[in-house]
Amino acid sequence: MRNDLSIVLCGQAGQGIQTVEYLLTRIFKLAGYNVFATKEYMSRIRGGTNSTEIRISSGFVRASVSRIDILIPLNQGAVQHVEKRISPQTIILVDKETITDDFDQTRHKFIDVPFTKTASEIGNKIYSNVVAVGTIAGLFGIGLQTASEYVKQFFSAKSDDVVQKNLAAAKEGFNLGAGLVNSSKIKFDIRNDADVKNQILLSGTEAVALGAIAGGCNFISAYPMSPSTGVLVFLARQAKDFGIIAEQAEDEIAAMNMAIGAWYAGARAMVTTSGGGFALMTEGLSLAGMLESPIVIHLAQRPGPATGLPTRTEQADLELALYAGHGEFPRIILTPGNIEDAFYLTQKAFNLADRYQIPVFILTDQYFMDSYYNTACLDLSDINIEKHIIKTDVDYKRYKLTANGISPRGIPGFGEGLVVVDSDEHDEAGHITEDLDLRVEMVDKRLKKLELLKDETIPPELSGPDDYKNLVVCWGSTYNIVREAVKNLGRDDIAFLHFRQVYPLPNETSIYLQKAQRTIIVENNATSQFAKLIKLHTGIDIKEKILKYNGLSFYVEELTEKLNDLLN
């Protein structure tokens, strides 16, 4: 009896999948089940076919599987949409009344559940979503109590009648589910774990935004762009409580130049965007490089080129982040692999940006932004907001030449000095210069900082036996997928190495790679950009590559299989 289950809801945009997903994940968590959820959806507001995957388990679940144990199709064509992921074991809870595609009973296991009828009896079709929620709860023998309580809370804003109707819907659904169990059409028992109840359920978007607040972010300027908008929305909602200025700019160019201006005046600013929007920010990135301005850039990747697939995922803007901006200047690129990373790295990004006066990237992607799972509550105890601004004296010079290249950063109005920054090559005071010897000193000064950064990189995380023969390399959002896939292989000769900082590339990299007899890299892009970065900095050429670029992230089984094929 498996204790790891995947439930998929599939239907049109705007059909209420989100509500079902929202209720189910919360109820499961309250009931003490480990939960993971992610979604794939089209670039439209209504119609089409989208799907949400919810995994529940006795242990941690943090990655997407293709396997579907329970499918709830909500519209015509839904089953077909996920066809490839359906197996003979897949239980399809279908409301034959609403969904009339003729299904091939021989190939699939259909169970007719009268969601709509039940709902109508309660008073309105629209309750069918909650009926479905109840049904699932029933299937798992989650106390009706828990479910009802949450449903109540959830609709608390609504009129009493609506609340009651929804409770009834949950109850009826629950009975439907329980019925299925009793008639032993279905049986699961997934152990639950009391601790989960007190854990938090957090998405990549929320983790980045919370990390920003924890980093002291008090200014965000951005232009909406999927999948990066969530961070702006989150901070806008928290603006009042945390004294954040959250401004929607007229374009990405304004967003970037505003953020740099904000840092100049003493704010801690960030931008959030995606590939095309970031392209427009690259002149501003170079400005930050020249002004030696801190700037935190959340770059949420999606498939390109150009508009590409706006609501899908990819890891193909690594080289863009690495080389964007004309001229030569240092930067840091952080690539969170899990929700906790996203929080702590974003928090750290503000400190790094401020200390080194450089651009710091948080590189995520749509899969990462839209995925969430339960995790132990974030530890804020040693959150430390480093402010590296000084009170200036009368003869303050913004670009004082120092041994390590870092000049104390003053801000206007704080102290007796004047703060002069200039996009032209400048002298120590910050004023425009054509002194070509000084030019060389300033270039060296800016590039020196790169040396400092190299000594303070976040090492990659090795998981698996120290005496590994095979090494799987990955970065960013694929962390948990690779982890589970490698675990599935059940071999004692394989480990995996995940990079949460890709640039500057940590010094440990080559040591880890040299130890391996075989190295396989896993990337969500078509040209294996990270392998190129590794080759450039270590000389090591990773020849075995597992690449995916259809707009989706890897499924655990898919990756397991690909790894198996390579290794056997």
Binding site: R26, L30, Q153, F154, N198, I200, L201, L202, E206, L210, A214, G216, C217, F219, S221, Q238, A239, K240, D241, F242, G243, I245, E247, A249, E250, I253, A254, N257, M258, A259, I260, G261, A262, Y264, A265, G266, A267, A269, G284, L287, L291, C377, L378, L380, I385, I411, P412, G413, F414, G415, E416, G417, L418, V419, V420, V421, S423, D424, H431, I432
Partner: protein, 288 residues
Amino acid sequence: MDTQIFDMANIDIAWCPGCGNFPILKILKQAVAELGIEPINLVLVSGIGQAAKIPHYFKTNVFNGLHGRALPPATAIKAANPALTVIAESGDGDMYGEGGNHFLHTIRRNPDITNIVHNNMVYGLTKGQASPTSQKGFKTPVQVNGVFLEPFNPLAVAIALDASFVARCFAGDAEQTKEIIKNAIKHKGYALVDIFQPCVSFNKLNTYQWFKENTYYLEDHDPLDRQRAFEKAIQTDELPLGIFYINPEKPSFEENIGTYQEKQTPLYRREPDLQKLCNLVDKFKILI
């Protein structure tokens, strides 16, 4: 206050002898000095161009950013620390060409900054191509048959967007220009000051003489009358100077964002409330 406080010690000014930027530099120093604004409380924000070099000849805080991008950082600087007096200053190409979109939306935002544009109707630093305000027929190395595009009308556009302060003046007239600039700085909200500035090297059409002959000051004009302001703004046979339009009603961007409703403390003096953050994080347990 003595204007010398804004003078830089022995600098080599990169403008051409006779350039209209010199009087503007002088006038601006006088204006801020007369308003008693301390160098440490003033920030000059500029883009790139001849006009945009002005902060390098001005002893104060300076943010000399990218070509066309003076307004976004100026807005942010003011928002991050409203105690600062912020002036965004550049040329016509910078503000109305490359920076056109920021011009539109900064007017809508209405930050309490002064936007001074040195309008010499040409791209000076890049050696004389047409700018958005170049007059029809103006011949340049690129516009070989003369400009045929409709000149950009910054005042009319600003009035169309209900900008809160719209004025135009002429670098050749120190007194009036100084007064207009002082009014613009004192005005709460976005203030546009478009200054006719002769470029002696590349604009042989719109000379000091030309501006003298083709401009006049608005008289008994009511700056609260938007309709009339527009009428004046689109006049082209002769070009009016003065304060065209004022909308005294508008709250500024800094007021609207609410960040300073409770306390005036600038952002750099604030610390995030980690306790609040803990509570926020905890919400992700209860999940409503």
